[in-house]
């Protein structure tokens, strides 16, 4: 068992004021993962310009941890190159939220999976022609 009390202040803050809720119109990539029968579904849309993720929005059906990790991952990817974004894992998202109760770690996998799916979708759409981030 776990207590809702175990959620960190940061998780609660993101749950209460989730960042970047919604859907980007004509996104560069989108990913929907999870399944309502299992209790968690997340849809992530990203906008990529010059190989950099310039915007990200999410919609999530799920528990507090699922919503907070969704919100956090949208914050984390903004400004990152595709390569950098691929280094984001469920663990780094959870760490950015000051941790999750152990049995809630699986909810953060949703955020990682949605990000990977959105990037995959972006790559498919650009069919390898994705323009590399400008090194400066």
């Amino acid at each position: 068992m776990y207590n809702l009390e175990e959620y960190s202040a940061k998780v609660m803050e993101h749950y209460q004021n989730p960042r970047n809720v919604g859907e980007i119109e004509n996104p560069s990539g989108e990913g929907t993962v999870g399944n309502p029968a299992c209790g968690d579904v997340m849809k992530l849309t990203i906008k990529v310009e010059n190989g950099r993720i310039v915007d990200a929005k999410f919609k999530t059906f799920g528990c507090g941890a699922a919503i907070a990790t969704s919100s956090m991952v949208t914050e984390m990817v903004k400004g990152k190159t595709i390569e950098e974004a691929l280094h984001i894992s469920n663990k780094t998202v959870a760490e950015a939220l000051d941790g999750l109760p152990k049995i809630k770690m699986h909810c953060s996998v949703l955020a990682e999976d949605a990000l990977k799916a959105a990037i995959e979708d972006y790559r498919k759409k650009t069919d390898g022609k994705e323009n590399k981030a400008q090194k400066d």
Partner: protein, 386 residues
Amino acid sequence: MKIIYMDHNATTPLDAEVLEAMMPYLTDKFGNPSSSTHAYGWEARRAVDEARSQVAGLIGAHPEEIIFTSGATEADNLAIKGVAHAYRDRGNHIITSQIEHKAVLETCKFLEKEGFKVTYIPVDRYGMVDPEEVRRAITDKTILISIMFVNSEVGTIEPVEKIGEIAREKGVLFHSDAVQGAGKIETKVDKLKADLLSISGHKMYGPKGIGALYMKKGVKIEPLLHGGGHERGLRAGTENVPGIIGLGKACQKAGKVMKAEAIRLTKLRNRLYQGVMKRIKRVYLNGHSEKRLPGNLNLSFEFVEGESLILSLKDFAISSGSACTSSSLKSSYVLLAMKVQEALSHCSLRICLGRSNTEDEVDYLVEELSKNVARLREMSPLYKEV
């Protein structure tokens, strides 16, 4: 602001009169009821006897038919293991339902390991056991039927009278876990035709850690605890005197206020239900619309996960039927047994009103629900897709 408590099926606050009745037994009147040689013991014994009568009074039993236990978990264990072990020579088959409390289900599972056979009767979509299905499950090896009176999650009132009748007709003992019914709706052992019945103090404004098992005269059980011969040798251990006094007082008070309170809570719950249905679309009732515990409401808000909704209702203490706690998100086994769609089973909220709740609180909950359901649906990727 104090958090508004609406989780009365989980536990209830201690009634002030109950505490008052208990106080002397936590302080000056500390005697051991077994101390037969002095006044400290005598007064404790008298108080325990009176509490026994009060408990018996609430459920229409004789005081000698009441065994005090540490709670309903123990009462359920004592009833089921006690009968199983005492009647082993008669048969090895037990019938129960899929939606019992874990105190019954896990006890039955344990007995399966000892070689007993258990039939877990399914329920319909309202959480109701069909008495005829119980009848069909009876074999010449059946020694016990255990079906709860009121389900703690969805509030469904089971047709226990009919099941008791069938049990009696077939000569099988009948136990009912009446924890959620006793003190809230009329719970009489002769009407329910129960041979054994479990109750718990903390679900009826009494203290935690005290309960009782009713056992009809003539029924035999094997005790769980052996020792100094307390409770007619059926439950050894120096009596939890303050707890027992508290349970007795809680039963007495419940007997007095129950009828009016059941009417008030039914109205209050209907107000809540109607308020929600008027303001929020795509809400589904779990459980039975009429055969239902007065204060209980169990609702699924489509497209909104239960825990996230509870988190948003900061001013309320309520619970959810879904628990996103394991790698495979588990829904309540009660909702699953009722074949509630899995997607909806994750969206359930259990609201249990009690003595302290008011119309204002209920109206405030409707307000908060409608606000937060809208917000969370706006956030839900499933919502737009309908």
